[in-house]
């Protein structure tokens, strides 16, 4: 492992621990195993007034060896119904993970951005066409009940398995 990325991940890890109290929707963000700083996981909490309320959504985070020149690869492990998340693979469509990435972002700030994507979908660049279509034709009620159903099915309770 390149020592540069190792050192940066250590510093990010320390900062995450320090900031834990300041980000209510990020329940957890840490390396899966202590000796591998290039593989992390996170748990996002659905916000109270949204259709994701009560849900716990696990993210899998893979850090490339040339991080932060290259962005991390992040996908949802927990199945989630969202216009910008692929239902089967968990792939996320978010500008800062692609063209808008800069080394000024950290794993923590990216997770906060993903968390705000949950309540602010971008139906114009969909990975989940069913969800996006409901939003695009203005069927908010239909959209919300679909999201609630999947959240209850996959993200609520002790369903930590993939």
């Amino acid at each position: 492992m390149s020592s540069a990325v190792h050192r940066r991940m250590l510093k990010e890890y320390m900062a995450v621990q320090k900031n834990a109290a300041t980000r209510p929707h990020l329940e957890l963000l840490e390396p899966i195993q202590e000796d591998d700083l290039l593989h992390w996981q996170a748990i996002l909490l659905g916000t109270a007034d949204s259709a994701y309320e009560g849900g716990r959504f696990k993210l899998d985070i893979v850090i490339p060896t040339n991080y932060p020149i290259q962005s991390p690869t992040i996908r949802f492990v927990t199945k989630i119904c969202h216009p910008n998340v692929h239902f089967k693979t968990g792939e996320i469509c978010l500008d800062i993970l692609k063209s808008e990435w800069t080394p000024a972002w950290t794993l923590e700030s990216v997770c906060v951005a993903i968390s705000s994507l949950l309540t602010n979908p971008e139906p114009s660049s969909p990975l989940n066409c069913d969800a996006a279509n409901l939003l695009r034709c203005g069927d908010t009620a239909g959209y919300n009940s679909l999201v609630k159903m999947y959240t209850a099915l996959y993200a609520i309770g002790d369903s930590d398995e993939e």
Binding site: N66, A104, N120, E122
Partner: protein, 405 residues
């Protein structure tokens, strides 16, 4: 004594014997033209003024037994008031060269006295006229007066105790030719009606013939009052938010871009003549983060209250609970004191010596880290060994060159 001790004087003709050139006194070259009297004849200067190189600005200064002296207006002016003594010296001199030595002495004394007094060659009328006006104005408002009174800087204070500087220039022929006042720094605005009503022009202040300093200042003060509220609003943004652009706002800048935290910012363009109405806004940042703010701006637009400052209104509309983040609260967290890319201070023996030149950012980077980042970005341009790209932190232009290997 011979003429060769004046190296800047050149013999221009031998019959009659004429020298033309310069006398060098106190780092200044003063133009002179000298015609030697032919031995034994007492010719008068008047007949000789046309001799020597043509120069319309040269005028006759002295004539006597040893010859005739003409020179530039400058020289004539320096010597004014000393004509009698000089004539006496010329009459006593045994030849022109010895007179020139005396003349240079006189010039040295006169010019060093003058530069000590600092009034150079401005006539008394000019200075007293300006002094009278400054007296009337009050010297506490005068922040700068040039040595020769040609430029005066005056401090104006608006009703919100903000200081504004205006510069009045007095031409050499003042008061015959009127003074000019440099334009005040004011925002550009679109309202012809208002402009004509108040007799203003946007570019600055016009000074009509005979317009006294005091009147010009009253005109400027009227302008300050028009924009007072606009400046109140801008000052509030500057004091209560973290302005990332412009770096050093001027009194003319209508735009502010304020940090919102989490890589987001809002740009506002305030209308100078109705500064408390809702400004044009634009949000910057990752789509997912700014989308909810945009929604809030639209949904809460009805809450805009012109009795409040726009900064306060934006805090309400955007539902910023702790208000706009300040530079202190938003600035780099302590994990990031080293290089903004690798987060280390020392890396491969190097310290982060590449600084973002944007004053509010100044994020340091290692050359090798910044180079590697810029090279990976498709929009970076390269010219020879230099890369031109954007700072990963503030987005402003940043350049770096290839690290030495």
């Amino acid at each position: 004594m011979a003429m060769h001790q004046f190296p800047l004087l050149v013999q221009w003709s031998s019959v009659p014997e004429i020298y033309h050139g310069f006398l060098s006194v106190m780092d200044r070259e003063l133009e002179v033209c000298i015609e030697m009297a032919s031995t034994g004849t007492g010719r008068t200067g008047q007949t000789l003024t046309k001799a020597g190189p043509r120069n319309t600005s040269r005028s006759s200064i002295l004539s006597g037994r040893v010859g005739f002296l003409s020179g530039s207006e400058e020289l004539k002016e320096i010597l004014s008031g000393q004509e009698t003594q000089l004539q006496q010296k010329m009459d006593e001199a045994k030849d022109m060269a010895s007179f020139l030595v005396e003349l240079v002495d006189t010039l040295e004394v006169t010019m060093s006295n003058r530069s000590a007094k600092g009034d150079k060659e401005k006539p008394l009328r000019y200075c007293t006229h300006i002094m009278e006006q400054l007296d009337a104005l009050g010297w506490d408002r005068v922040t700068l007066v040039d040595q020769d009174f040609s430029r005066v800087q005056i401090e104006l204070c608006d009703a919100s105790q903000r200081k504004h500087l205006i510069t009045a220039r007095f031409p050499p022929a003042y008061p015959t030719i009127p003074l000019t006042i440099a334009p005040l720094e004011i925002p550009e605005y679109e309202d012809d009606q208002l402009a004509s009503q108040r007799g203003l022009n946007v570019g600055g202040l016009s000074s009509k013939q005979g317009l006294a300093l005091e009147a010009a200042i009253r005109q400027a003060e009227g302008q300050l009052e028009i924009f007072r509220e606009f400046w109140d609003v801008m000052q509030d943004f500057d004091e209560r938010t973290w302005v990332i652009d412009p770096e050093k706002p001027t009194r003319a800048d209508k735009m502010r871009r304020c940090a919102l935290g989490n890589h987001c910012s809002i740009q506002v363009i305030v209308q100078p003549l109705s500064p408390r109405s809702m400004p044009d806004t634009k949000l910057f940042g990752p789509t997912a983060s700014i989308a909810p703010m945009r929604t809030k701006l639209y949904q809460n637009a009805g809450l805009w209250d012109i009795k409040k400052l726009p900064r306060e209104n934006l805090e309400v509309l955007l539902e910023l609970e702790g208000g706009f983040p300040s530079p202190i609260s938003t600035n780099k967290d302590d994990i990031n004191v080293g290089c903004g890319i690798c987060y280390s201070f020392r890396f491969e023996g190097q310290v982060p010596d590449q600084l973002c030149s944007h004053a509010k950012c100044q994020q340091p980077f290692h050359r090798v880290c910044l180079y590697e980042w810029l090279r990976s970005v498709p929009t970076t341009r390269q010219s020879f060994h230099t890369l031109f790209g954007s700072c990963p932190y503030c987005g402003e232009t940043i350049t770096t060159s290839a690290p030495k290997t």
